[in-house]
Symmetry: C2
Subunit: 301 residues, 2 copies
Amino acid sequence: MKLTILGCYAATPRSFTNPTAQVLDINNHLFMIDCGEGSQVELRRNKIKFSKIKHIFISHLHGDHCFGLVGLISTFRLLNRDTELHVYGPKGIKEIITLQLKLSSSWTNYPLYFHELESKESQLIYEDDKVTVETIPLKHRIYTNGFLFKEKPGLRKLLINEAVERNIDVALYQSLKMGKDVVNNDGETIANHLVTTEPDPSKSYAYCSDTMYYPEIIPQIKNATVLYHESTFLEENKELAEPTKHSTAIEAATIAKDAEVKNLILGHYSTRYGSILPFKSEAETVFPRVQLADDGKSFEF
Amino acid sequence: MKLTILGCYAATPRSFTNPTAQVLDINNHLFMIDCGEGSQVELRRNKIKFSKIKHIFISHLHGDHCFGLVGLISTFRLLNRDTELHVYGPKGIKEIITLQLKLSSSWTNYPLYFHELESKESQLIYEDDKVTVETIPLKHRIYTNGFLFKEKPGLRKLLINEAVERNIDVALYQSLKMGKDVVNNDGETIANHLVTTEPDPSKSYAYCSDTMYYPEIIPQIKNATVLYHESTFLEENKELAEPTKHSTAIEAATIAKDAEVKNLILGHYSTRYGSILPFKSEAETVFPRVQLADDGKSFEF
């Protein structure tokens, strides 16, 4: 998995900071998460091929997470896209986009599907042969979901020497990788675990922005490979986090620690701070493996 | 008048070109014209004070002219604006903006007024003591207006020596500037033209984008100080101008020539061209006083 941060600052786009948008690449399949104003320019800057984006997940309808969506959809049209696009987001997103396409007489010439969300329970909203995506219900000022991207478990690893030694036909290797016992050329049943080992552990990415400190999410994101958690404020502005329903770096780190995730990435910084480095140092007082998102930065895991 | 070009390229925002937006400063009163995606960032880059913008004129509802509006309106809110904002644009613009504010629970905390346009005839849509703004009905794929900004005629210029010599009371000078005849201290009526001269000629700015070649606008923009006219295409792509209802540089220059404007500024270039210089040279074959708009460029007139 490769995560590219197009923007990770709160509120208003500025000359050198962008509102939230990111692209998660899972085996060359690109998932876009949130789409603040200017995201299409950031996609270009980061040399991400527009046509590879087939699924866009919108966490909530605050402008810094979605005002770039209609422009991106329109640009796809101007680029003569023909592959379909699926947009997942809160109820209302379809009306916002289609109203603008209608009033500009600019219907897309590619199939555009909306998957509107309104459940307050976690839902499986996407699945293919390699990946699932579930909503993570968050607690913010308006209806908001995070998203949990999980690789499906891979195939078991074949111990080729063991298989040869046990006189197993090559045609049965795929069955072995899928965990089945097989009958060898001598008519003996060979238990799967004798000739295979566990697959590589599946990776997962939990995106949680925007939200107040909300420990209810912990069971769902338990042991995630990477947690991206918003940290709009530093401890010195903790009093702002509660009324705006945002989190501090310490609160994000507390979620990471209690969920026993492998890595924490912080983002969604308020633009009031001159430097983002204190977010890392504050979070590290609670949880050791902290990285800072920044516009244009990529993470591979 | 000072015109600042925030963006002047057609269609899609890119890393180094912006869609249409500009700010016209008339005696320190700022009028914004169109608001493509990213315009708020360009306002910052050009150090234009957000709070001074009280009137935004949207020509039409294609995305490259209006997708930045909702973000700008939201940012005004985050900046705790209290002065009112007036938005003039095609019918539907109010629904587009209010739907998004509603779904994000982000109503403005300042007064926001929409002035929706649907007339196909020119209308006076704004007037204060110094300026009028009229729509210029254009011909494009959807309902589109240009805008004609006109300074009102100034006061006549007092010939102070002549007034003293004719023994006119100082209290009457304002009446003279306003063009009235007055009675002097000797009881004689003094004809206004003996002690005043014509005011400075009023300036005007005609903004015409997007439109096909449409000579019906000529009487309205006759003798304008500056005409900004779209020139999406060069002559080599003339065949694209007709179906998309855009203009070539030569067509823009022909309008400038026939309307006898003082200066022509070209803009709204298709992003297909490596250089914009040929727009100038092509237009100059028809009309001599051509300037090229470019992002971040200002014109004083």
